[in-house]
């Protein structure tokens, strides 16, 4: 077994072991079943939600909202990052602001956003966007900072136009950092949207979790929580695998 595979199996073993321990503790009533249901029951309840079709609307709403927040945050974040990078004075002014960006509890603005845009998905897109954009800006700045000067010099020696130089040399050179930005933006969009739904909204996974909680519907609540966890892990894992594949050729063997 290769080292890589061994690490993979160890990871699986940790997760399976944790779930098994949880299952046993719940079954032995060490953990009160009114507090936490066994993982197997969560899975069954989740299956039930899929079969009854109740979950699909929530999935559609949450995912489309996250997708929009993600796309906006990545495009705007990248554009802003590139712009700030090109303007050193602005850069010096905003650098400390960017650094302290995530110390702001953005969710306090969420009620304001609802007042502004109404109780629909717009405030959710905005909160996801606001939460995710700075990560993309910071990653873009980071990536552009790390493009070696010799790369831009080479682009000029090869007589590339400024646009070609950006597309064919600068961006590929900064790609690993931009990829980090994508990963963070996706995670933050997810957190922003689900948390927003949780606080106040008319639908979505976060809303349904909050609703089930208020109804003492532990089965549904835990089923949905499990689903959100699995999806977040799978998406991040998929991005991670893709990133590793891209990076593999760029790092020394």
């Amino acid at each position: 077994m290769s080292r890589q595979a061994a690490i993979g199996w160890t990871r699986v073993a940790v997760i399976v072991g944790f779930l098994a321990a949880l299952e046993i503790l719940c079954r032995m009533k060490v953990i009160n079943p009114l507090t936490l249901i066994p993982p197997s029951e969560m899975a069954m309840a989740l299956w039930g939600l899929f079969v009854s079709g109740k979950i699909w609307d929530d999935i559609a709403q949450t995912f489309s909202t996250v997708a929009l927040a993600f796309v906006f945050s990545v495009t705007v974040g990248f554009a802003l990052g590139a712009l700030i990078h090109a303007l050193p004075r602005v850069r010096r002014a905003v650098d400390p602001l960017l650094a302290s960006y995530y110390s702001i509890p953005f969710f306090v603005f969420y009620p304001l956003l609802i007042a502004l845009f109404g109780l629909n998905t717009v405030p959710l897109i905005v909160i996801g966007f606001v939460f995710a954009t700075a990560a993309m800006v910071i990653s873009t700045l980071n990536g552009l900072d790390r493009v070696p000067r010799v790369m831009t010099k080479t682009a000029r020696i090869l007589r590339l136009s400024p646009a070609q130089a950006v597309m064919q040399v600068t961006l590929p050179s900064a790609a690993p950092y931009l990829f980090t930005g994508l990963k963070l933006a996706l995670a933050y969009s997810f957190i922003g949207v689900i948390a927003g739904e949780f606080i106040l909204s008319g639908g979505g996974l976060g809303f349904s979790i909050a609703y089930a909680y208020n109804e003492f519907d532990n089965q549904t609540m835990y089923a949905l929580m499990m689903f959100v966890l699995v999806i977040a892990t799978v998406m991040n894992g998929a991005l991670h695998v893709w990133e590793q594949r891209l990076l593999k050729r760029r790092t020394r063997a």
Binding site: V150, K153, T154, L158, Q164, A175, R250
Partner: protein, 277 residues
Amino acid sequence: MNVALATSGPAAASAHAVHARLRGVTRMFSGKLSVHALGPLDLDLQCGEFFSVVGPSGCGKSTLMDLIAGLSPPTEGTITFEGKPVAGDVPDGIGAVFQEDASFPWLTVRDNIAFGLRRAGFDVAEIARRVDYVIGFMGLREFATAYPAQLSGGMRQRVCIARTLVLEPRLILLDEPFGALDQQTRLLMGDEVLRLWRETGATVMLITHALDEAAMLSDRVGVMSARPGRFIDVITTGWPRERDSNIVADPAFGVVTARLWSLLRGESMKAIGARGA
């Protein structure tokens, strides 16, 4: 050695013609403290010659190269390449290799080398033909599908040289391309450069801080003063065109190297701020 060979290369047709000409060239850098980096200096690069520039660190050697390549404009003076003025725009026919590794880590060796040709819009067959030739010439055949990260520093520098060569530049600028390599690799890369210089007939200007390297490779060596860099002397080595690193055993090599050092010693002391130079 065979002197006839020296004038039978592709450069022979235009032998003694001036390839690049600098007149009264000065470069200042403005900023909080304006720095007078270079000049005023004059230089004629002859067609097909191997010209090296040595000088104390910070004397503006690399600035000189940037100016000739058109990467930055001179503050004063004029630069012409093949009779046409160069002013902050890279002219066709100039290739450059830098000290830092400039291979593109996201492309295979082959794609790295083909990069410039693809941008220049050559057709696929022509690109394949030229790339194959250069890959063979630079001894990169078994690494063609490798990524730069899998290669040693010397090999990556070869990729950069190959990427430049494939465009068939008429003037090749080398900015300390072997500065990051160990001494043995440097000597061997020197042979490599001599070989490509002979076979392409291109004019080569090499910037280096290694006096032995300059003495071994060049037809002429320009010695620069401490900043602001000027030429304090230009030494003609008198080597035959057919030469290689074995020349280091020639007594004349020692004479040239010693001459370079006697010229540079005082300037280098100025550059590091020593007194009594």
